[in-house]
């Protein structure tokens, strides 16, 4: 927040914030892809000493060759990172979407204490998971549909 990075929270944390009982152990975001925002994102990653953690190195990761900068994200659709605060995944273009602006349309604003954050709408969450496919993600859909139904019944969506 201090770095004023614009992003939308995705994945398990987003679903949890919207009321899903499912647990998760990583934090996924879709950052806005403007140069200025990517610069701010890079500054934040340098601040928290984020390590790149590609498949197979999830527990240790390794530092980028040079400090994080906007060019670090060039041509990436996603980046898996670890920080002192845990696993942190950046999704520049989540599957089935065109990225931040696409998700921003329906994003839900939530408040956590004094902080405000944008969270991916359940419909978009399900769109992403349907596109990824596979047993794991398709298996999440029934719970998300139940959650969506209850949220609508309570006038939350």
């Amino acid at each position: 927040m201090r770095h004023r990075v614009r992003f939308i929270i995705l994945g398990g944390i987003a679903e949890r914030m919207l009321g899903s009982p499912r647990t998760t152990d990583d934090f996924d975001i879709c950052p806005a892809a403007t140069r200025a925002n990517l610069d701010r994102l890079a500054a934040m990653l340098n601040d928290v000493k984020a390590l790149w953690a590609p498949s197979g190195t999830e527990e240790t990761g390794f530092a980028p060759v040079e400090s994080w900068n906007a060019a670090s994200f060039k041509a990436q659709t996603s980046l898996a990172l670890i920080t002192a605060y845990g696993k942190f995944d950046l999704w520049f273009r989540p599957d089935g979407t065109t990225g931040y602006d696409d998700l921003l349309e329906k994003a839900v604003e939530v408040e956590v204490g004094v902080l405000k954050a944008k969270v991916v709408h359940l419909e978009d969450s399900m769109r992403i998971k349907r596109t990824i496919g596979g047993t794991k993600y398709l298996g999440h859909l029934p719970l998300l549909r139940d959650l969506q139904r209850q949220r609508r019944e309570q006038g939350l969506d």
Binding site: G19, T23, T24, L141, D146
Partner: protein, 107 residues
Amino acid sequence: MAAWALLREARAQARLSQRALAERAEVAQSEIARIEGGRQDPSLTRLEQLLRAAGYDLKLELVPHDDHDERLIRQMLALPVAERLDSLEEQSDFFASVREVPRGARK
């Protein structure tokens, strides 16, 4: 079990590709891909047709509704967002603290 999961399981058990199953069932391979990808919900009749082509019959029975997930969702929605995250942190801390007792030490 969802239709996509049933179809995928039946096809896997029958060791059929989507194309092979489509030919047997006389449907388009793209339809099977959409169903297994969760993008299309087949009618019950269609599902039975596809499963039969894979060599399976569909047996349906009434069972009491399991509302476990619905109850958990209701509980979660009753909490402020901050508490939903706090409880996730508590759960993570709890599971991180779990240690298995070595077999020899078990009573």
